[in-house]
Structure formats: C-alpha cells, structure tokens
C-alpha cells in the first residue's frame, strides 16, 4: 500500500479510538486525503477497509510527528478540544514515542493559527501541501 494511504489509514484508526468520528472530522480527513492525491473512490475504500492498528515502526519519528500533528488538527476540526479527546491524544502521543506535553503545545499552536491574525504567505513555485505530499509519496 502506498505510504500516503497508510498515513490516512493510521489517522482514521486513531480518530476512531474515542468511539466516534464527527462529520467535520470525516471532512477534514477526506480533504487531507485529496490533498495527498487520493480520489474519492480511493478515500472510500480506505475509509471502509477493515481497521488495523499501525505497526510501531511503520513511520519514521518525523513522520510520526506529522501524523500526530494532523491528528491534533483533526481533534480541533469541530472547534473544541474536549477533555476526553485530550486524554486520548496523550495516550496516542505516548504510543508514537512523544512526551504527553506535546499535546498542549500543539493545541496552543493550532488554536493560535485559527484565531490569530497571521496571513498566509505564498512561497512561489510550490503548492501549499507540498511538504506533506513529498514526505508521504
């Protein structure tokens, strides 16, 4: 399976750990999958595939960071970080080899990004998602 599909699959796995995935969360994952080059059919097949736990050494530590960072953005997709979600995020952080303090740091960073007055800066000759795309292709 392509690495970016495995990334999406791992994301879905972790997102389902708290029992539910909201419509906003599903839309977020779908957008990300499309950004990584998956069409709707491919996304649906990943979504409907039998769930399997990602292997511990499936991704490098930097890829694990991208996975976890995306998971935090997913958690904030509905605008609120619930206590239970933070608890799950801390468990996942530990599983991926991170200190639990990373959860609050990333929540702070992404909330600041949403509410702050930062303007997107378009670096010429590249697309927005080039970093993730190139890392997982």
């Amino acid at each position: 399976m392509q690495k970016n599909n495995r990334f999406i699959r791992a994301l879905i796995h972790f997102a389902r750990l708290d029992g539910t995935i909201s419509l906003e969360e599903k839309a977020f994952i779908q957008n990300l999958a499309q950004g990584l080059g998956a069409n709707l059919d491919e996304f649906n097949s990943i979504w409907d595939a039998e769930e399997s736990q990602p292997n511990e050494d499936e991704f490098s530590v930097l890829e694990n960071y991208f996975l976890f960072d995306t998971l935090i953005q997913l958690m904030l997709a509905d605008g609120i970080a619930h206590e239970a979600e933070i608890g799950y995020a801390q468990k996942i952080a530990a599983k991926l080899g991170f200190d639990s303090a990373i959860v609050n740091q990333l929540i702070e960073v992404h909330q600041e990004k949403k509410t702050g007055n930062a303007k997107p800066f378009q670096v010429k000759s590249q697309s927005d998602s080039i970093l993730l795309k190139s890392l997982f292709n």
Binding site: V61, L62, N117, K119, L132
Partner: protein, 157 residues
Amino acid sequence: MEKILQRFFEENELEPITIETEEGKHHRFSISLDNTSAECLLEENQQFCSLVFMIFLPVKMVGGQFARVAEFVSIINCFSRTGCFIVDQDTGIIMYRSDGLNGSLATQDYDQLIINIEGAIRMMRRFYPGFMTLMYSRSAVKDIFMQCANIPLTHYN
C-alpha cells in the same frame, strides 16, 4: 528601501506593526505556514542600509530540551549558507535570522528581498517539525537532522 518594503507588504497583503527607533524601523507581522504560524520581524537599518528578516518559531524550550536543541541548531548552522538559527537561552525562543547583504552590498533589489524571505521560510518549514520532534521525543539529534534534511522540497532543486 522604503519603496521595496511598501511593495512587499502590499503584494502580500500584510499589515505590519511598525516601530521606529534611532537605528531604523522594525516591521512586525505574522505569517501562516503549513501547520503553524510564526511571528516575523523585518529590521530596516538606515545607517547600514541593511534588511534583516527574522522568524520566531512558535516553540519555547524548557529545562533539558535546551541541550538537544542547541546541538541540532549547531548542526543546521554548519550547513546553512543563507542565515542561521538562534536559540535564546533566557527566553527559550528559537528564531531564524536571514541576513540581507549588509553595508555597501545591502539588498536594494525587490527580488533579492523576496529570495531572502522565501529562503528563511523554507528553512523554517524544513526544520520546525524537527525542533518539535526533538523537544518531545527521545530520538537522536543526528537522526532527526537527517530526516529533516531529506524532506524532498521540490523548490530546493
């Protein structure tokens, strides 16, 4: 220089906060990147006719994180030709400083200014995930550096 900066801010729809001092002007603004946002400072020094662009990463180190980050920064700076990361030990803030060409060789060209700023942003996009990973995991500094360095950003080619 003033016209160059005015054009830069207008074209990128930035609304900087400008503070004037005896040495020159400091323009502060925020930019939004892949998965974070960062504070930027563009220093305009009239006396030396220089422009210095700095990005403050939204990262603050505490306690034992400093040694690992310092080692990481020293490795990056060995390879960087366009600027350097600076770690402020007192505040725990990490920033990237991209020097314009100082003095008589100062950047007077709009395209050169953009190249400097884009270069600084690329360095941040490449290494910011590395800083975060180093601070919150036990991975070896060398491994993180190699993984960051190998992110194949196409515009590097």
